[in-house]
Structures are given as C-alpha cells and as structure tokens.
C-alpha cells in the first residue's frame, strides 16, 4: 500500500485516495479545431513512463481535493507532492 502525503491532510494510506492518471494534461480549448489525430492523442495516448511519473490523485475519502504526485513507477517511491 502506498503512503501518500496529502498536501492538506498529511500522510495517509493509499486506500483513502483515488488515482487520476497522468498529470498536466490540458483539455484543448477548441476541440473542433483539432485533427482527428490530435484529438485521439489527447483522449487516448499516454506517456506511461518507466521511471518518474507525474500523476494526479484525489483524496476521495478525506478532503476530496486533487493534487499532483511525482512517483517512480519502478520502485513506487514518491519523490514529491504538489498542488
């Protein structure tokens, strides 16, 4: 079980959180202006790195706020947590 430091509530068990996938994905402001390839890339493609990953977590069973975590996907070490 991961131990995640919620920026508002402190260190809690992973089971209090929900995973939200890759962080910093910005929804295109004008989807109509995109080609099918660009839209598909936004919708489906993921970096999926082996190593450092910036990801979103939500403290669903706590303060219910979203934040970002930088985690090493090989050894699960959490390197940083930021809003």
């Amino acid at each position: 079980m991961l131990h995640i430091h919620c920026p508002w509530c402190g260190l809690r068990d992973e089971s209090e959180f929900s995973y939200g996938g890759e962080a910093h994905r910005v929804r295109p402001a004008d989807p109509d202006a995109l080609s099918d390839e660009q839209w598909a890339d936004y919708l489906f493609n993921r970096g999926n790195p082996k190593g450092l990953h910036h990801e979103q977590w939500c403290h669903s069973h706590g303060c219910r706020r979203w934040f970002n975590v930088e985690r090493d996907t090989v050894n699960n070490r959490i390197v940083s947590v930021y809003r």
């Binding site: 991961l2 089971s15 995973y19 996938g21 598909a40 993921r46 999926n48 082996k50 996907t73």
Partner: protein, 415 residues
C-alpha cells in the same frame, strides 16, 4: 528435436536423466535477420512459431531481455475461454481456443490444457442481463455458451455459497470448452518447436533502441549489439510504451500491476474455474492442488511487478464470501505482473506508421488465452505486411477513427 514419449522417458530414466538434449539452442545473435521478434513471452514465441511453420520463414530471432516467459506469461492465472461479447473479439479468441485444442500433440509437449469449463457469475439483475446478452451473442458466433441458474451452480459447485448476503449468486454464463493450461509449458513448448524450425531464441538480450531510416525500420540496438532487420515485431506487453518511445510513437497503453496468489496445496476441491467480474476475483485449483486466485488491477500505473496489499485483501474477502470453506486456507505466494491496459480492453495487433515495425500489445489482464490466435494472426501480418481478417479490427487507427471494440464487460478486470 528430441521426441518426448513414454519410451524416451524410460530410456532416459536408465541414465538418471543426465542425457536429455536441450529443449532449444542458445545461439549468439547473427548480424542480420529477416524478422526480429522483441519479447519472449507466449505471444512472441507463438508469432515466431507460426512465422516459421505457416509462412516458411526461418531467419527469425526472438529477443528476450530476461528468461522466456518471465513476464506476464509466467505470472498469469491461466484461464482460457472465448466467450467475449463482440464479434471481433469472439472470433479472435475462438480461433485461439481452437488452436489450443490440438497443441499438445502438435508441439509434442504437454500443455496440460484442461477443459474444466468456466463459470462467470452474475450477482444482480444487471449482471444477469449482461450475461444473457453475451451468451446469446456467443451462440450466434458458434461459441459454446449457456446461461445456468443458481440451482445448477449449487449442484455443480456445492462449496460455492450461492445465497450469501453480500454477493448472492443469481446465475452464470457457462463455457464448457474453457479451462486452464500450464503457462510455462506454453512458452517452453512453443520455444522448442520454433527452435526446431530454425528460429534463434536469444535470452538475456534487451532491445534498447530501434534504428530507422526514411520511415523504414533497419534494425535494433540490443545489450548484445546491433542487429539488422527490416521487420521488427514488438510483443512486450507491459513494456510496449517503452518500445514505442524508441520508435518515436505514442500508444494508448497504461501499464498497471495485476496481482495473483496461490494457496498451500489442497486435495481436489474445485474442479472448474469460477470467475466474478463484480467482485474482481477468479479462482481455480491447479493440478498440484494449489488454489490459484487472481485480483483486479491496482489503480496506479507501474512497472514494479508488485501491487498494494489492500487490493488482494479485498479480493480474498470476496473469495471467502463466495467460498466460506476457504477461510482457513493459507496463502503461499503472491506476485504481480505488469499488464498493458488499452482504453477499450482490447488488444492492438497492428502495423504502425513506420514501415517494417509491427506492434502486438494491449492484452492487459486477459491475453494468455489468446496466445495462439494472437501469434497466428500476427505472423500473417508480419509475413505479408497486411492485416489478417481476424486482427484487422484491432488496428492502431481505431483510436483515431473511433471504431473501438468495447470489451469491458467480458474482459474488464477479470479474464
């Protein structure tokens, strides 16, 4: 290839089993191949075997970074079935099931393919409606499937607590031709047969780069040096995104841990496979007597080949609810694989924008059963540089065209 039989067993017993020939050679890589297959799991080995057998190619190498089957092939709970909902997937998985049927004889290697049948439980009205729909679809596709009710299940698997309060069992889909097979035997049997047809199987050889020129693949960098090839077929499951990265491509794949565990060996107690999508659990008993139990994926992505404890805790809680008798059984081992999850719970078996580069991935939590059909159709794609009718729908372009094949119902977390 040294033939395995009761006679060869007896003959070798006389010399204390010291003189068996190796099941496959371990050659040094040649400077160049007609086809390089990256990944020595079941799917990569099946691709090599069918390329050699059906397409008469022999200058083929399988490059595996660790040992054969050390990825998901050797980590899975080995459930084999074909009762998927949509025509595209049902036909592919059914082709695979048919290939399983004669494989032990064909490879002269016991696959321990045991058709003990597979039950997919329904716990509520919605589950049952989905099961009815799927069984009807299966029957239209000529796949053996029927809906059975709680009473039938109670009689067939008396130890299953059908009227427990938490997950009452209302019925199930039943596929009698489904079952389990021995994962290692699949990898080893295919490797031995492919080797006999001239395929070079090279272990401890990690691909670290894909060289290309003018939109065409020309070779791969490996930990054992550069190897030339105009065709590179990538079959690396959870590592697909890594290999795509080497070729400058992006994939709709997320790699997650998927956990399983086995118990201490018991006397025969469970003679079929029981699965439940709703509780994220599936269970069968191995020939050694261990209960083999699989869970749902961990929420986060990762390559650690381990998962979080609360996932198997929830999984076991559900299994114990369904089989109260197992509450005092001790678990022996627990592990995880890195599964390649695709947005529509279906694989990608496809050409890519790069000429000579082919990808076979996205099997996620349920590709063991498809090992043969996957290799069989992929070999066609690689040999002929075109899709096989059975894998054509599983192209990479579907994420752009929107023609997804949504198998979350039949594939979902369970297998």
């Amino acid at each position: 290839m040294q033939k395995y039989s009761i006679f060869s067993l007896a003959r070798n017993a006389l010399s204390h089993h010291q003189h068996w020939s190796r099941a496959w050679r371990s050659p040094a890589p040649r400077p160049q191949y007609d086809v390089i297959i990256v990944g020595g799991g079941g799917h990569g080995l099946a691709t090599a075997y069918y390329l050699a057998k059906e397409h008469n190619l022999s200058n083929i190498a399988v490059l595996e970074k660790n040992g054969l089957g050390s990825g998901n092939t050797g980590r899975n709970t080995t459930i084999v079935r074909s009762n998927y909902l949509w025509d595209e997937s049902a036909l592919l998985y059914e082709q695979s099931l048919k290939l399983w049927e004669g494989l032990s004889q064909e490879l002269n290697y016991n696959q321990m393919f045991s058709r003990r049948g597979v039950l997919n439980l329904g716990h509520n009205l919605h589950d049952m409606r989905a099961i009815h729909r799927r069984v009807n679809a299966n029957q239209l596709n000529g796949i053996d499937a029927e809906v059975v009710d709680a009473q039938w299940i109670k009689q067939f698997v008396p130890i299953l607590n059908t009227d427990n309060a938490r997950y009452p069992v209302l019925g199930a889909s039943w596929q009698p031709r489904g079952g389990v097979a021995r994962h290692d035997a699949v990898a080893w049997g295919l490797a031995r047969a492919a080797d006999a047809l001239g395929v070079d199987i090279i272990q401890n050889c990690e691909v670290t780069g894909i060289r290309r020129k003018d939109g065409q693949v020309i070779g791969v960098e490996t930990t054992q040096g550069y190897i030339k090839s105009k065709k590179v077929a990538v079959v690396v499951a959870g590592h697909a995104s890594m290999l795509a990265d080497m070729a400058g491509l992006r994939l709709p794949i997320a790699s997650h841990p998927l956990q399983a565990l086995v118990s201490e060996p018991l006397k025969p107690i469970l003679h079929t496979v029981v699965m439940s999508n709703a509780v994220h659990g599936y269970i069968s008993q191995s020939d050694k007597g261990e209960l083999v139990i699989g869970a749902g994926i961990d929420a986060y992505t990762g390559y650690s080949q381990r998962g979080s404890f609360h996932v198997i805790e929830g999984n076991i809680a559900a299994i114990v609810e369904l089989f109260p008798l197992f509450s005092r059984v001790r678990m022996l081992r627990q592990w995880a694989g890195t599964v390649d999850i695709c947005p529509d719970a279906c694989p990608i078996i496809s050409k890519t924008p790069l000429k000579g580069l082919y990808f076979n991935c996205g099997w996620g939590t349920g590709g063991f059963k498809a090992t043969l059909g996957s290799g069989w159709t992929f070999a066609h794609t690689v040999a002929k540089d075109e899709p096989h009718p059975l894998n054509a729908p599983f192209n990479l372009e579907r994420f752009t065209t929107g023609q997804l094949i949504d198998e979350h119902g039949a594939a979902g977390v369970a297998h």
